[in-house]
Amino acid sequence: MNAIADLNWTPVCNVDDLLPNLGVCAKVADKQVAIFKIMENGSANLFAIDNHDPFSEANVLSRGIVGDLKGHTVVASPIYKHHFDLVTGQCLEDDVRIPVYPVRVQNGRVEVMVA
């Protein structure tokens, strides 16, 4: 079972390609995945969500500002400033949820799993 799951992890870049509290966008098959490295008390957490902003229909979420809002870790879309929860994909201002993807670091490589 582990073996099957492992097949779906796609390596996308080196850990060094991620800068603290910033995002990048990775192309995985025909999907665009926004990956963020968020610092908390000196350690880094990675998050991956879809790069597509449903409000502007532009692929821009990796270029938003990250932070926290009312207890959620979020990214703000650079276009109309909607906030998306990086854990659940839920939009904080509207009843919209965007896809989130598992992400991990394996041997210095960042990997995401896109179904």
């Binding site: 665009q32 968020i38 500002i65």
Partner: protein, 844 residues
């Protein structure tokens, strides 16, 4: 039921106030209203008439909101003079013989300037100062004159003298009395006032009785005085007092005062109960009130009486005044001459700093009766309220006028001591009670309070007091005005700015660790980035600042709706060489960018994708261009008109100055974007009065305007200083911008900032010009630092390979974003609509 007919003769300041207040009453629908206006335009602000010379137009001065007469169905008869009243048949007759019936008639005919019966007074160069037409005549005559004389050294005469001086004339004031402003100011004050007026370059002649005006020899006219002396001049402006326009009352047999004026009772009724008189034509208790505030009170009383409310009575008005000449503060309150029985006085004279202050107190030393302030009138509002409300004096009343040394705070008169009825804004008759009500209804900001109550919206002299009343009421209600920027910082932007400077904070992480909580957000991060840049001017793409920037700042371009970017190279002052144009055109063509001339006199290139930005900039930099900061909360453009180099009317080189200013302040980070413009003359082709900083050339230098705004809520900029040389202009702008950066809220343009600044324009002018806070040189140094450490962000980026890594859409592929699709329109690209994208994708 047929409607009653209400006729108002005169559409001046008071007539218009009457109409505005009448129209607000429910009962107004039961009236057909007609108003006669002898002048060619409806009511305008006579109090600010002089501003016409410094560039305000008749429209700027208008007191009539757009569509006012139409909305309220008022029949406005412009250029139409009422010539007689037939009281028996209740008819008003007009100049062309038409007869207009009335049930109620209001006379608001104002007054006319008195011209003493001196032989020669009717010569074409003898003028008066009352209407816009008068000012046009003065301007035209001044253009052919070298010397000008104002006859009359009162409030208006001095204002007129300043106007003549500004028109470039050698200016004299001739006064019959032994001192200037004899009505308001005592001998000591008069002496000091004279020396201040003289130091402004106006020659003062007191105790002069003009007997004849004859042909001059070196100038057009010669004035001959009773003492045998003479004065040659090209223009004479009479400002020797006003006389009520009571000719209609006289003709129709209404009761009048011995020396003129239409007699009215406490309800502003004349001897005919259906006829009212208000404003400067009305005589109440043997007195004429030559100020606008009492006229406004009369208007309210007449409205109440005609609508049957009988709610208010006119009981006289306070004649305290504050002169609004730039550079000379003069105020007179109540019994300035100490004529009340038993009155005593304290006075303070400082001949070095030119300050004279006197207070007149009651015989028991308990109450303030009057005051004279010359050279410094800071506590006019406080003293006035003390007198009007009979507030008991402090133990040592001289504290009120003695200078405060060693940082001791001036004795404040807690606003809580004022009764609710205390009039805080006299221009608009707003009481303390009304302000408190507005605050109770939820207003917490000065600008909103001004909009809701109109307090502080005319002369502005009361704004500090209005602010104090608001704050006291907020405190009383237990409302803490939260200015916290967001959930991560319990501070306002101004406080955070201060924390950063004082604690020498250099990064967001340090700031949030010390003064905030959590991880930050898209509000506090860009704000901190901006403050760090304003203070230290670090390269904005330094790794530790990178995550703080809005995408526009991060990629140094403006994100568009489809995720592509626009590129705006700086074109200082809008001046560009043919080669520059060709270079921009070549880059646009090579990268297939949509091009458009912006509203800021430069060129915007749209449709660039992230990976193309450095390539585009490499070429633009090679062609000599720099970042235009169209993406930043920073200086955008300095718009210019062509100016004296080419234009036949240009006074100075506006393009040169615009370029100089743009290069000085480019890259400066601020709470919001900042726009400038420089016009070469008062025709104002660069629209400088719509900008945060506007500069207009005059014959004698630069006029500086501040805090204008276009956009959603346009605001005309305010003139803050005139006739500046280049160095002073730049000094003032340095101070202005740094003071704004220090004190404004996040995303607050200068216009909104000023509207919320306690003390308003006067306070700002004091800080910038008189350095009242003593921070002038500090502000200049801080600006100097920013100017000296400027770097073109795009050049730095293009030259540092590690910074270039971020400019790609995918971290793991060189592919482009397939969602970015263009179609062609009018010969250029534009983003495809979602519909078009679907079709194209199918087609592929």
């Amino acid at each position: 039921m047929s409607k009653q007919k209400l006729v108002v003769i005169g559409n001046g300041m008071v007539g218009q106030k009457f109409l505005a207040q009448f129209a607000e009453q429910e009962q107004s629908i039961a009236f057909d209203i007609t108003t006669f206006c002898e002048e060619p335009r409806p009511a305008y602000d006579r109090v600010y008439l002089s501003a016409y010379f410094s560039g305000k137009t008749a429209e700027d001065l208008s007191l009539v909101p757009a569509g006012f007469f139409e909305t309220h169905n008022i029949n406005l008869r412009l250029n139409d003079k009422a010539v007689s009243i037939d009281r028996a048949n209740k008819l008003v007759e007009t100049a062309n013989g038409e007869k207009v019936p009335y049930d109620k008639l209001v006379l608001a005919t104002g007054s006319y300037p008195f011209v003493p019966p001196i032989p020669g007074k009717d010569r074409p160069e003898c003028l008066v100062y009352r209407t816009i037409e008068d000012l046009e005549a003065i301007k035209a005559t001044a253009a052919k004159s070298r010397v000008g004389v104002v006859v009359g050294g009162g409030l208006l005469g001095l204002e007129a003298a300043k106007a003549l001086k500004d028109l470039g004339l050698e200016t004299h004031v001739v006064e019959f009395a032994p001192r200037l402003m004899a009505v308001q100011v005592d001998e000591g004050g008069g002496k000091l006032l004279r020396s201040m007026i003289e130091s402004m370059g106006v020659k003062v002649h007191t105790g002069k009785n003009t007997q004849r005006i004859e042909d001059g020899s070196s100038s057009k006219l010669k004035m001959c005085f009773a003492d045998g002396s003479e004065l040659e001049t090209d223009l004479i402006l009479f400002s020797a007092g006003i006389r009520p326009r009571d000719e209609l009352a006289k003709q129709s047999g209404l009761t009048m005062g011995e020396r003129g004026g239409i007699t009215v009772n406490n309800f502003c009724q004349t001897s005919d109960p259906d006829i009212f008189a208000i404003g400067e034509c009305a005589l109440w208790n043997g007195r004429i009130f030559g100020l606008v505030a009492p006229g406004y009170q009369m208007a309210q009383v007449a409205v109440d009486t005609i609508t049957g409310k009988l709610a208010s009575e006119f009981k006289g008005a306070d004649m305290s005044t504050k002169l609004k000449l730039m550079g000379v503060d003069v105020a007179s309150i109540g019994d300035a001459h100490g004529t009340t029985l038993g009155a005593q006085s304290y006075s303070f004279v400082d001949e070095i700093n030119k300050v004279y202050k006197k207070i007149v107190v009651s015989s028991d030393n308990k109450y303030l009766l009057g005051a004279v302030l010359v050279g410094e009138a800071e506590n006019y509002g406080t003293l006035l309220q003390m007198m009007l409300n009979n507030i008991e004096l402090p133990e040592f009343p001289d504290m009120l006028i003695l200078p405060q040394r060693d940082g001791a705070a001036a004795p404040a008169m807690g606003v809580d001591k004022l009764p609710d009825a205390a009039q805080i804004c006299s221009c608009n008759n707003v009481s303390k009670g009304q302000i408190c009500c507005a605050v109770q209804d939820g207003i917490t900001e000065l600008s909103a309070l001004k909009a809701a109550t109109k307090a502080g919206t005319s002369c502005g002299g009361c704004t500090a007091l209005v602010g104090q009343v608001m704050n006291a009421e907020l405190a009383k209600l237990g409302i803490e005005v939260k200015k916290d920027v967001c959930e991560h910082f319990p501070y306002s932007r101004q406080e955070i700015y201060h924390l950063v400077r004082v604690n020498n904070i250099r990064s967001f992480d340090e700031l949030i660790a010390k003064f905030g909580k959590g991880k930050g957000c898209d509000i506090c991060k860009p704000m901190t980035a901006s403050i760090l840049a304003s203070c230290w001017n670090d390269f904005i793409l330094k790794t530790e600042h990178a995550g703080l920037q809005d995408t526009n700042d991060y990629f140094m371009a403006n994100m568009q709706k489809d995720g592509t970017y626009s590129v705006v190279p700086r074109v200082p002052g809008g001046e560009i060489t043919p080669d520059g144009l060709i270079a921009i055109g070549a880059v646009a063509k090579k990268f297939n960018l949509y091009t458009k001339i912006t509203g800021g006199q430069r060129i915007d290139l749209f449709g660039a994708q992230v990976h193309e930005l450095p390539l585009i900039w490499k070429e633009l930099i090679d062609a000599g261009f720099e970042s235009g900061h169209a993406y930043g909360k920073s200086l955008r453009t300095v718009k210019s008109c062509v100016g004296s180099t080419w234009c036949r009317y240009g006074m100075l080189d506006s393009v040169g100055m615009a370029i100089r200013l743009e290069n000085r302040y480019k890259g400066l980070r601020a709470p919001h974007k900042i726009k400038f413009a420089v016009s070469g003359c008062t025709r104002e082709c660069a629209e400088a009065q719509g900008k945060d900083v506007g500069v207009i050339a005059t014959e004698k230098g630069w006029n500086l305007y501040v805090c204008g705004n276009g956009g959603m809520k346009p605001r005309h900029a305010d003139l803050i200083a005139s006739d500046l040389d280049d160095a002073t202009l730049i000094q003032y702008i340095d101070r202005f911008l740094m003071f704004y950066i220090k004190t404004a809220d996040r995303l607050q343009r200068t216009s909104v900032w000023l509207d919320n600044l306690e003390g308003g324009l006067k306070y700002l002018a004091d800080v910038i010009i008189n350095d009242s806070l003593g921070i002038g040189s500090e502000l200049e140094q801080q600006m100097e630092h920013v100017v000296n450490t400027y770097q073109d962000e795009w050049r730095t980026t293009v030259e540092s390979p590690d910074k270039l890594k971020r400019f790609r859409h995918f971290v793991n592929s060189d592919a482009k974003d397939s969602n970015v699709v263009f179609v062609e329109e009018r010969g250029q690209i534009r983003p495809a609509t979602q519909e078009e994208k679907r079709i194209q994708l199918v087609a592929v």
